[in-house]
């Protein structure tokens, strides 16, 4: 079971800050971040990439599920 960070309804930079914190503290190699706007999707993806994580984006209704893998 990977860690899930729920950032729905939050605007940047909050999703990026929460995602970065989760990635820094992640005990496992997978973290899922849920965001509800395209800006947060792009920013979290960019931040995760720069920290060396792979990102796959899934559309989940109106939200985006970002699966981050080390």
């Amino acid at each position: 079971m990977s860690e899930i960070v729920d950032c729905r309804g939050l605007s940047c930079p909050e999703p990026v800050m929460q995602a970065r914190q989760a990635l820094q503290q992640a005990p496992e190699d997978t973290v899922t971040v849920i965001v509800s706007n395209a800006v947060a999707r792009d920013n979290v993806s960019r931040a995760a990439n720069s920290m060396g994580w792979q990102v796959t984006v899934e559309e989940d209704g109106e939200d985006f599920k970002l699966n981050l893998n080390k």
Binding site: S11, V16, R20, R46
Partner: protein, 362 residues
């Protein structure tokens, strides 16, 4: 890499358009000034009676509609709202208060710098300090809370109002005010001002260009992405001004500016801090309004109300400087922003503490 090139191009277009708009009639170093233009619109609607700054500026409507059309096209339009509307209105007011002390939003600060107005060089570190203070609150866990999805009508409100303002501008009914002298009487032709707004609206929606984010992301994440856009605005506007003879270096006698350095510095500190807490600079709020964010539209309303407040009570800066009452407004703004910053951090950390206590109890 492609993203970086795109945001640099977007910034360059903003800088170039700003120079062209001034050549074609906009006030000097005011090709774009989101705060000034919203203030002018507030005046055009009669919300304040400062006769020299009343005009329904089409750049503003263009930005909102450009972002709206783009967001629809790329399926990023989404009606949301309900995240601390009262505080967002207040932050809009405070952002405008600080901008009208300095006489310009962050975008105009960069354009003034590119025009050789060294007062902007004093304001820039003030702005950075304001953004830095904002990041301290963010690191403490400052949040305005989650927004909710709303009916699409909420999201259409902003673009609809923009269209209404364009109709009022063209129809020019007697109850709309038009400055006959001063900055409010100076404007490039409609086709240019509206066109420039639309184009920048499209580019800013795609690139997320934000004059506050540019500084904030460096301080928070050492991320220079947005900064490249801001730097491009400056460089191209500077080159444009040099080539067209609009570069006039100095402190004194700058157009629509004053040299009260301490208040230029602190005015932009207010803008920087308010912009971080509100999640975007004045321009970004217009783009988000076009994307359907009611929270951003509330912030824009707050800015318009702030402009009316500042001019109705004679608090705004002027080429003569900042009045003692205006100086008090800066101090009060900083206090209120600090209260908002700590207030919203406290609520969250308390609820987190409660949660962990509940977790322990169970």
């Amino acid at each position: 890499m492609r993203d970086r090139l795109f945001i640099i191009i977007a910034g360059a277009v903003v800088g170039l358009l700003a120079v062209i708009l001034v050549m074609q009639g906009n006030p000097v170093n005011m090709g774009f000034c989101i705060a000034c233009f919203i203030r002018d619109i507030a005046g055009g609607l009669g919300l304040h009676r400062a006769a020299v700054v009343q005009f329904l500026r089409p750049e503003i409507m263009g930005l909102v509609i450009g972002a709206f059309i783009t967001a629809l096209y790329v399926r990023e339009f989404k009606a949301t709202g309900g995240s601390s509307p009262v505080l967002r209105f207040a932050l809009g007011m405070l952002m405008m208060a600080g901008a009208l002390i300095f006489l310009g939003c962050p975008l105009r600060m960069v354009l003034r710098l590119a025009g050789g107005d060294w007062n902007a060089l004093v304001a820039l570190p003030g702005y950075v300090v304001g953004v830095w203070l904002g990041t301290l609150f963010l690191r403490r866990g400052f949040t305005l809370g989650r927004s909710q999805e709303q009916s699409p009508v909420n999201g259409y409100a902003g673009p609809f109002l923009a269209v209404v303002l364009i109709i009022l501008l063209i129809a020019a009914p007697a109850f709309i005010f038009f400055s006959e002298e001063g900055p409010g009487s100076m404007s490039a032709p409609l086709i240019l001002t509206l066109g420039a707004g639309l184009l920048v609206g499209v580019l800013a929606q795609r690139t997320r260009l934000c004059t506050m984010g540019a500084i904030r992301d460096i301080l928070l994440f050492k991320d220079f992405h947005l900064f490249y856009g801001l730097a491009a605005i400056f460089v191209i506007a500077l080159i444009g001004n040099l080539f067209t003879g609009q570069f006039m270096p100095g402190f004194a006698g700058q157009p629509v500016a004053h040299s009260d350095s301490i208040w230029n510095f602190l005015g932009m500190t207010v803008v920087g801090l308010a912009a971080v807490l509100a999640g975007g600079c004045p321009m970004r709020q217009l783009i988000l309004t076009g994307e359907g964010q009611g929270d951003a539209l509330i912030t824009v309303f707050g800015m318009a109300a702030g402009a009316a407040f500042m001019h109705n009570f004679g608090l705004a800066g002027s080429p003569a400087g900042v009045s003692p009452a205006g100086q008090w407004i800066v101090i009060i703004s900083l206090v209120v922003l600090t209260v908002i910053g700590f207030g919203n951090t406290a609520i969250r950390s308390r609820s987190t503490a409660q949660n962990s206590e509940q977790a322990k109890a169970s």
